[in-house]
Symmetry: C2
Subunit: 598 residues, 2 copies
Amino acid sequence: MRSTLLSRRDLDFLLYEWLDVEALTDDPRYQEHSRDTFDAVLDLSEQLATRHFATHNKKGDEHEPSFDGTRVTIIPEAKQALDAFVKADLMGAGMAYEAGGLQLPATVTGACFAWFQAANVGTAAYPMLTIGNANLLLAHGTPEQIETYAKPLVAGRFFGTMCLSEPQAGSSLGDIVTRAEAQPDGSYRLFGNKMWISGGEHDLAENIVHLVLAKIPGAPEGTKGISLFIVPKLLVESDGSLGERNDVTLAGLNHKMGYRGTTNTVLNFGDGTHTPGGAAGAVGYLVGEADKGLSYMFHMMNEARIGVGLGATALGYTGYLKSVDYARLREQGRPVTAKDPAAKPVPIIEHADVKRMLLAQKSYVEGALALEMFCMRMVDEQRIAETVAARNRIGLLLDILTPIAKSWPSQWCLEANNLAIQVHGGYGYTREYDVEQHYRDNRLNPIHEGTHGIQGLDLLGRKVTQQGGISLRLLSESIGRTIADAEESGGELAELAEQLGEVLGRVGTITAGLFASGDIDAAMANSSVYLEAVGHLVVAWIWLEQMLACEGKTGDFYDGKRQAGRYFFRYELPKTGPQLTLLASLDRTTLEMRDAWF
Amino acid sequence: MRSTLLSRRDLDFLLYEWLDVEALTDDPRYQEHSRDTFDAVLDLSEQLATRHFATHNKKGDEHEPSFDGTRVTIIPEAKQALDAFVKADLMGAGMAYEAGGLQLPATVTGACFAWFQAANVGTAAYPMLTIGNANLLLAHGTPEQIETYAKPLVAGRFFGTMCLSEPQAGSSLGDIVTRAEAQPDGSYRLFGNKMWISGGEHDLAENIVHLVLAKIPGAPEGTKGISLFIVPKLLVESDGSLGERNDVTLAGLNHKMGYRGTTNTVLNFGDGTHTPGGAAGAVGYLVGEADKGLSYMFHMMNEARIGVGLGATALGYTGYLKSVDYARLREQGRPVTAKDPAAKPVPIIEHADVKRMLLAQKSYVEGALALEMFCMRMVDEQRIAETVAARNRIGLLLDILTPIAKSWPSQWCLEANNLAIQVHGGYGYTREYDVEQHYRDNRLNPIHEGTHGIQGLDLLGRKVTQQGGISLRLLSESIGRTIADAEESGGELAELAEQLGEVLGRVGTITAGLFASGDIDAAMANSSVYLEAVGHLVVAWIWLEQMLACEGKTGDFYDGKRQAGRYFFRYELPKTGPQLTLLASLDRTTLEMRDAWF
């Protein structure tokens, strides 16, 4: 029986037939690997996700973590699943050997991790945060910090969090007020409250490593005065043993619509509940230089944003597969031209409108998965780049793709879940089926790790303009190369290439026009619309890439890819038309709207 | 403080400044009413909804009805609220005096009922079903049936249900298998299972009147062999007193994502749990003629479909108002052109992207409310029409508007709730705020009372083609009159009229082209896309109507209406462009897709 979590066939296509992940093994970094080791870890991930994660997805939703004022209780299946994940060395799958990892390519570990997100996004959030946390420390920590915190994270003994938001400062990190006071021994004491902290309290691991943004008194205002601190739940002695309780306390849990398996917390730092070393404040250790915390955090955030996009994709993908299965089994109605009411009903997959809802899902989830895998491949490319110039080039391309890799699946794979419910009819609206939970879980993704609106501002206000527009130029060149390939292959692909080229040309012209106007308010007013239009352009490009990789190949799998690609070009890409027209007009409708008119 | 359920100011505008509901009092049917009585019942509805319904909305969601195998338990606040509703004579607000009603116009009772749906759609479902049930019996029942069942429904002593679906037959009612066997005394005995029955079991009223579709053995196959029966939970004696338990038993409750306050049941008819009169089967009484049940049910369904649209609108509306309030209070970030990080943060309502999300909601929910009120006004117009020809004409216009009145708010006011969550950020994703529940509740609306896809088939396959296309012609003429009015007023409205006229023209051409093709499969393949395009056309027309009603008027309310109308024409109506292009191409992408390719 095929899995209803993800399609391994599709992953194999993306990794081996399109992105040529095997080529990475030519590089010294990945030379000990081969397709065999890649396949083995993919097999293992599918098995563990199916046996240990999918099995408690519904239970984790029905029995969300609870807090009795002292302890947080989480269903035991979550710890069992995470123990299995850790035991299989998956926490360090992508980390370097010297950090205790398996040094697998990001493309492979991304594909592996998607299995866990598809199976149980609530439980999978713990390793996702822990991996991001460890990667940040491996990149920016001192050797001692790496030894004390990063390695136990990689080994799965400690879990991690990222503590950015505060009750008054969500999207606007420059306004955080948590303060870090320097101590004579070089450590800091932190005081403040953090909001929306996933994995902020639990007994799933021996210790929790909080990475906390705070301001050192006297630091510059805004984002330029933010520093980053390691704040462990339990202090770690010099021999690595666990010591005293630090003054990080749980003020309460947030109760969410979905993603319920992940504890989401309000944390108090230094509220006096504990007095480590007999003094006030939560003990913290500065990471890197003072006031540069946000840039380190963005190292982690960019990875987290692709991870969010991948999670949204995984939820969309499993909902798609489940709705295909349902549509094959459910018999209802007859073809529109059938006149005999006594004829046997047909499986609903035969109705055009059901096929439309399934094709739409297929075009969203396979398009999104390909986009995420492409970004992961760029991460690998960046790692093995031989020159600084090459590394920077790839970094600039990744910069412009990241807001899209985060936002596009968060929007369209949520829409896929919406359609998966619709295919199921009334049954899809009940908790007896899985798809309603996927829809609730997926609704978080346009909010966390930078809202949809923030991604739009990031894309248009920062990524598109950085270094004289080089990122957009690099993206255009990449799309242009695909267009050239498709034109060369002729026929249908050349026609699609022409359609893509027209949209690409309009995006270029309109982007230039926005900034040429000199009216920054008007240029930025519709940054979300810009994000959505460029998102569709990018995913259409990724679809054309996939269709090129199918060229000359026969069989149901390739025919399905081609048809989903056609669907995207016929039903989806044209939606950019009115969006780009609106952008070109420098529309001021929202700017002219007044508070009193609502 | 203004209400966050609905805007009374907006309702007053729609009823009195646009639809001239006061003119109805010239007709003998409504002559005892005046604006004063209309206002009084609107005031009362707002008060009761605010005090008795809104107050247990969250509790009803958190504590959904439970079934212990014998009894269904519903939180007591629901019964208290419904008792208050009944005591205020609102169950019969729209019914004729002789039935025990207040004989108010449908436009007014619709506006009243929207308050209850905005406050608590789960509890409001009980009267909605009861009113529909009573209206059907008043239209098609015998005098005795009216006396025995309809009057207690109007008085709120009995509640009603509509039992259509079965586990194997949801959208495809022709496939129901519940059978009704004629008895010598003229009654029937029913045997079968019904699925998705809202309000199927509870202790909220003295009795439950199920209206059940079933087949009499030997009846024609399909929808032409369906009859309608009254099946009371408790048999009613000739003196009106309640007698023996009928053989209608609760097999179980469905557990839904939202709309949790409404019991949703699987009911067994005639499974032998009870043996009324010592014999097998559930006692039922035929309504009207045998085999004509579906036409009677559609009488109720059309009303129910407008009611569903109104409920979706009400949920969208309250979410909109709550997100406006939140955006006014929540301070975060600074204008995009502000450079000083120490400047005070601004309320998020000042950010262009937040204004976009609020304006989009305003354009959806005020557009939808106006559409529903327009349909209600047509119901009134139909009731007081002086000639059969006039009545039929209005009926044909209502026929084509009904699938849109049902589906458009179900899609776009759900999207409004999506945006309301997004405006709230992380807070909107928690159960501490209201908007996540509205989103979950509203997700039912594209499914029940005919799915989105069914509405598309109904619109394109039935309503557009009926009687040689007269319905679409009547709609086009109505839109044409508004266009002419707007052209006459000149300026901005004339420009919008031109834009609307172009879309209207394209819809006409493309509709003709679909059927001229002779390829019914291709013509119907994108009926959902057609539904959505025509829906946007209709709502744009309704917006132009509202803008005309604002002409020459000044003040924040009118400026807000105008700006929301502009938003709809600039951001929304252009979305029909690619949809109509797709329809014009007679696209076969879905038809050519094969099962094995998924």
